[in-house]
Amino acid sequence: MSAGAVVVRRPSRMRGLREFAARFSTRTDGIVGVAILTVFVILALAPALFVGPLENAVTASGLPLDPPSAAHLFGTDELGRDMLNLTVHGARISMTIGLLATVITVVVGVGIGIMSGFLGGRWDAFLMWVTDVFLVLPNLVLAIALAPILLALVGDNAELFGIRATLLVIVVVIGLTSWATTARVIRSQVLSLKERAFVDRARVIGTGSGRIMRRHILPNIINLIVAQSVLTFAYAVFTETSLAFIGLGDPFSPSWGQILNAAQEAGAPGLLAWWYIAPPAVCVVLVVVSFTLVGNALDDVLNPKSGSRR
């Protein structure tokens, strides 16, 4: 490669964490996103540390629908529960659901994407058709339909990691509806990698398919997977909020969407109870925007594309 290239055509492949850190630190949007997310992650990990245990109808600490005051910084809901308390606990629930859903999406999406892209031929055609089917399924209606079925399967009160079945349903639904996009993105990268010489060389020396997939293709798409995961997380939080708002959430583990659902049911907008709506709404937007910023910054830093050639 000509070292005298004057116009930086294409940043060279990333080597090591330090170079990544240096590159990423030039992205103010990414840094802002990380900062905001860090705050929320800390809150989500130990909400009780900051605001005490989750209030419920019995332990409600204030008067119903009280506007913000010194005692209750964000006011109270219609049961008298402190909004700050609810919102901070909501972080844990919303982010946990987002995380679990992202894991499912990425595992399934990447798996199918790699297989489809690499195997090609009929497998590819078939898997892409399956992807198509999942892509056209209407998210919300599917969730509405699946929820009672899954609940009937596992029983209303089953729990996993301390998360009740109703919420796990949401996790499953988000996973079901978003793996398809990830699969497509991964697949196209795999397809272009397949064209590259090193895969052919590996084949020529007789390397088996599985090995090629693991040792040659996977490392080259890790970057893409990371960037995609972050963006998926944004989508997962967004969708969870919507599903909970529709009524598929768990009133006992109020995520931000669930809080907004309760607000809607209580008629908060009409009652001008803005404090009931603002905190969870702002949090959702902040988290989704932050994930998107970080995801885009990661994508730019990890997967450089050549800019203008002149």
Binding site: S2, A3, G4, A5, V6, T26, S308, R310
Partner: protein, 382 residues
């Protein structure tokens, strides 16, 4: 070979003859008697996202007369394309002309605003880009693209513009009815011809060709070069041809300017420079080209790579790879020296003062002749 045999008596006559044939009047600000294009000490600076800025073009000067064809040669990254683009300020967002002047008909284009400069784009200086597939808009018909500057810049009515577009297509050897075709429907050679037709739309004084034949196969390349030569003769066009392919320059150009790492190494009439190169880099460049007639021999390779222009080395930029390097070369930038035969060189082998005496000149040429010299590549072509 390349220089036309029937040259008018003086360059001034040639200029007058060509300028007299213009379809549109000279720009109002034109200075009478000024050369067509005079570039002096041009420097371009790119601001980099991190680190120091880069100067892809550093103190470059040259002149172009009416009806002349100048070839700019050098390896990738030497600044030849940037030089040409900066003439009409087609630089990327982070690029700026940081010094020097570009005088077209004596009018300095550098201090002009973008709006003022637009007057000269395409109407006086037009371009033919490399790889016309991308340089042509894929969703517009080529007839429309050729007619566009006529309609928009010259305010001509649509039918007249389309008719002229058809004329131009015929001029470059494409049937008129192909004007309704889209770029992807044409072959590579035809696209390049279409780009040439487009560049002629406003009857410009100078056409800059940036690697116009690089993406084409040899047969088509020959056709395109022949076309350019014919157009030059018939229309009195002045050409600036940028290419790394010396054989193209030998075939088509009157003079050649060899660039290295953003600076001019050598410049002069093609015959002189290619048969008796003075600058060691020029000699190496020439010897890197195979000679079809000579005995088989190993192609010379220039060891090393061009310097990183973010941190240009002190002194002569070629010193690190030059086998004639002297201690002085890594310290002092070699000044430009002009010889009687019309060649300029920037090399410490030819210090100021050596150009005056004939003896000095002969001595220098002796040094030069000790370097492996290829026959001019153009001669090797069947």
């Amino acid at each position: 070979m390349t220089a036309p045999d029937t040259k008018p008596v003086t360059p001034a006559d040639a200029a007058a003859a060509i300028r007299g044939r213009r379809q549109w009047p000279l720009p109002k600000q034109a200075v009478p008697g000024a050369p067509l294009l005079e570039v002096e000490h041009l420097s371009v600076r790119f601001r980099m996202p991190s680190g120091p800025s880069v100067k892809p073009v550093d103190d470059v000067s040259f002149r172009l007369e009416d009806g002349e064809a100048l070839g700019i040669a050098g390896e990738s990254g030497c600044g030849k394309t940037t030089t040409a683009l900066s003439l009409v300020r087609l630089l990327p967002a982070n690029g700026r002309i940081s010094g020097g002047s570009v005088k077209l008909f004596g009018i300095d284009l550098v201090p002009k605003t973008e709006r003022q400069l637009a007057r000269y784009r395409w109407r006086e200086i037009s371009m033919v880009f490399q790889g016309a597939m991308n340089a042509l808009n894929p969703v517009k018909r080529i007839g429309d693209q050729i007619a566009e500057p006529l309609e928009v810049r010259l305010g001509q009515p649509r039918d007249a513009s389309l008719k002229r577009a058809g004329d131009l297509l015929e001029l470059v050897g494409i049937p008129r009815k192909r004007a309704s075709a889209y770029p992807h429907e044409l072959s590579g050679g035809m696209r390049q011809r279409a780009m040439i037709a487009m560049s002629l739309a406003c009857d410009p004084a100078i056409v800059i060709g940036d690697e116009p034949t690089t993406a084409l196969d040899v047969m088509v390349q020959a056709q395109i070069l022949a076309l350019l030569e014919k157009l030059r003769k018939d229309l009195g066009l002045s050409l600036i041809l940028i290419t790394h392919d010396l054989s193209v320059i030998a075939e088509t150009c009157d003079r050649v300017m060899v660039m290295y790492a953003g600076k001019v190494a050598e410049e002069g009439p093609v015959r002189r420079v290619f048969t008796a190169p003075r600058h060691p880099y020029t000699a190496k460049l020439l010897s890197a080209f195979p000679n079809i007639r000579a005995d088989r021999r190993n192609l010379e390779v220039i060891p090393g790579a061009p310097p990183d222009l973010r941190t240009p080395p002190p002194g002569c930029r070629f010193a690190a790879r030059c086998d004639k390097a002297m201690p002085q070369c890594t310290v002092e930038v070699p000044p430009e020296v002009r010889f009687a035969d019309g060649v300029r060189v920037a090399c410490h082998l030819f210090p100021p003062g050596s150009e005056g005496s004939l003896a000095g000149d002969a001595a220098n040429l002796a040094i030069a002749s000790s370097m492996p010299v290829a026959t001019a590549p153009g001669e090797a072509r069947p």
